[in-house]
Symmetry: C2
Amino acid sequence: MNETAGTDLEPENRSARRKRRTRQALLDAGQQIMAEKGVDAATMLEIAARADLGTGTAYNYFASKDELAVSVLEQVMDRLARRIEAATAGFTDPAQVYAFGVRTVINEATTDRRWRWLLRRAEVIADAMYRIMGPYAIRDIRIAAQAGRFHVDDPDMAFRLATHVLVGFSLAVCDGSLPAAKIDDAVVMLLGMAGVPPQEARAVAGRPRPALPPE
Amino acid sequence: MNETAGTDLEPENRSARRKRRTRQALLDAGQQIMAEKGVDAATMLEIAARADLGTGTAYNYFASKDELAVSVLEQVMDRLARRIEAATAGFTDPAQVYAFGVRTVINEATTDRRWRWLLRRAEVIADAMYRIMGPYAIRDIRIAAQAGRFHVDDPDMAFRLATHVLVGFSLAVCDGSLPAAKIDDAVVMLLGMAGVPPQEARAVAGRPRPALPPE
DNA sequence: CAGTAAAAATGAACCACGTTCACTCTTGAT
DNA sequence: ATCAAGAGTGAACGTGGTTCATTTTTACTG
């Protein structure tokens, strides 16, 4: 795209900074407003206004409102994935790494105002979760399978389906149709999906857990 | 509401027939058009036209386009649930009843044009599935648990989460991101969620199955 | 069989939003 | 200073869900 001096590292840095700042402003404004009133109720007009930009500017960065929403979501998820990664660094049982991860995602999804609204688009959030958190989670599943803790043929598919369970359970808790305390049962089922027999799953799900590092 | 002769049985039958026919016409038109072009692309105008009714008439029956879509969905699901019920009437292993049910739902969802579009609203379809098919499925899970085939504390929750897996897998197949042949693995995971150990689950999932009765 | 009131149907008009695009402003190189 | 490319702008557009005052149909009564 750019045949000036630098090869690829430090490709261009002048007005490109402005683009980055604008894009980030849009993302931040979108995150705020979508968290406040929900994805549907958030209008492009208001988002642009909060970012202190013209109405049409957003469309120089995101092809549609939906695409902006997805980007907002990805940003939130990416941050959480990194925090989980940090918290599980010292774990010895690979099954527990996975259990901690899924539990933490549920916790955040049901607690954080930003997630609660986004949940209303289950396919979208599940897909984003698969793309953003998948690399970590699938690796963990594969490791656990090699260690004989999990029994799955296709770790990829296992996590893909797991994302839908995560979203589904979170949604139910937010609705009030399931109590948050059922989270242990949910983790047990998630482990069951990974081929862990019930008693063993219950034991893993019940173990004490470290705190997440702060955001 | 009506204090004339009859108590409750045969409450009123004259112009009520018209209402029923109008409602059904709307439902049928909605089902057709939504199947043809998708839920979003279907407009209330076109649905009303196909039902040979005025633009506003639909709103005497359904509070919103969304509500109409959900009703369409419920009708489709209800029919499928009854067919599954009929097909599994003679089964002896309760685990297999459940396995047959979930497998059939996936098959229909990925095959039937009506479902494929509706899948884009995962939370809605999962919720409808829980409400419409739940009574049957949860009963089956409970029976299997009592027979010692399943190990679940909360059959209700087990199926609620299962609906999200069903939707998620169907969605992935329709996307082309998972091959339809993975359906056996999906059934195994669904059984795993119900506390069935891997080998056993694989055996149940692999058994031959009778055909569904025609619609 | 009027006569009448409630129920159902109607469709033009409303309005909210996402999106577009012709135009202006900023940037950075010559 | 000049200019072209990139970034920003916001009025205007189009689509489509929803409303509501009005008309038509239905059911009941004297």
